[in-house]
């Protein structure tokens, strides 16, 4: 017989498992994305070590070499890395 307590014990871990990527994973993906885009745009950076969200598609990225860039999508739909 499955009691409510047992059911919740089964459901909660499964819900946690399938609810999507954890914030830490999202952060890692964002940092990797910002690192790649800054590299693609030819800016010196190395790895992006932290990022602060300002708006949708607008972040301040801090690089391991100390540089900081505002990475955003401009009005023409281009990805831009602007040194701060």
């Amino acid at each position: 017989m499955i009691t409510p307590a047992r059911a919740s014990a089964l459901i909660l871990p499964l819900a946690a498992l399938f609810s999507g990527p954890s914030p830490a994973a999202e952060d890692a993906a964002l940092l990797k994305d910002l690192t790649s885009v800054i590299m693609l745009l030819g800016m010196p950076c190395g790895q992006v070590v932290s990022a602060k969200r300002q708006a949708d598609n607008d972040h301040i990225a801090s690089c391991e070499n100390g540089n900081r860039y505002r990475v955003f999508v401009n009005a023409e739909g281009r990805a831009v890395a602007q040194k701060q």
Binding site: A29, L30, K32, D33, L34, S36, V37, L40, L41, N57, V71, V73, G77, R78, A79
Partner: protein, 180 residues
């Protein structure tokens, strides 16, 4: 006594003479037989090929067949090359999780810039080729490959395999205009 001895010596001489004649005849017969045998071999018509001979004659082509094998792989290799599907490639690039949104957008911007360079070249009416654009094209492909190969190796392989086919489209004004 002397007549007996003389007749005996005469008989001995006759016997030796007969032996010599026999030896000469025997040698003569042997030579004739050999000559006839050789003549028979020379004049004999070619015998119809037996099963064993036909098998022996058929064998050389089968032995030579593997020598022709290197010519075979060329069409096979051509068949293995998948046809370029630009739309499918675009979709895979758009949907891949190997790169993030900003990176995809930056790559798209750079691809659009390169396409604009090709368009400007063709519209300018220059008769020179587009060889000068090969290097930026290669650089862009390398960038895409370096970004994609860890997270989506299958896509990286497809892009790498389509490199020349894409260039063939870009370098041909008619194909370029039909695609863009």
């Amino acid at each position: 006594m002397s007549t007996i001895a003389a007749s005996a010596g005469k008989a001995r001489g006759n016997i030796q003479g007969i032996k010599g004649m026999l030896a000469v005849r025997t040698i003569g017969i042997l030579i004739l037989t050999l000559a006839a045998g050789c003549a028979g071999v020379e004049k004999a018509p070619p015998a119809p090929p037996s099963k064993g001979q036909s098998a022996a004659k058929a064998a050389p082509p089968s032995v030579k067949a593997p020598v022709k094998v290197p010519e075979g792989p060329v069409p096979v290799a051509k068949k293995l090359e998948p046809p370029l599907d630009v739309e499918a490639l675009k979709t895979r690039l758009r949907d891949t999780h190997a790169i993030g949104v900003f990176t995809k957008l930056a790559l798209k911007n750079q691809m659009d810039d390169l396409l604009e360079q090709f368009r400007a070249h063709y519209q300018s009416g220059q008769k020179t080729g587009v060889a000068s654009l090969r290097q930026p094209y290669d650089m862009l492909v390398l960038k895409v490959l370096s970004l994609v190969q860890d997270g989506d190796p299958s896509l990286a392989r497809t892009i790498s395999g389509s490199r020349e086919a894409i260039w063939a489209i870009l370098a041909d004004p008619e194909k370029f205009n039909s695609v863009t």
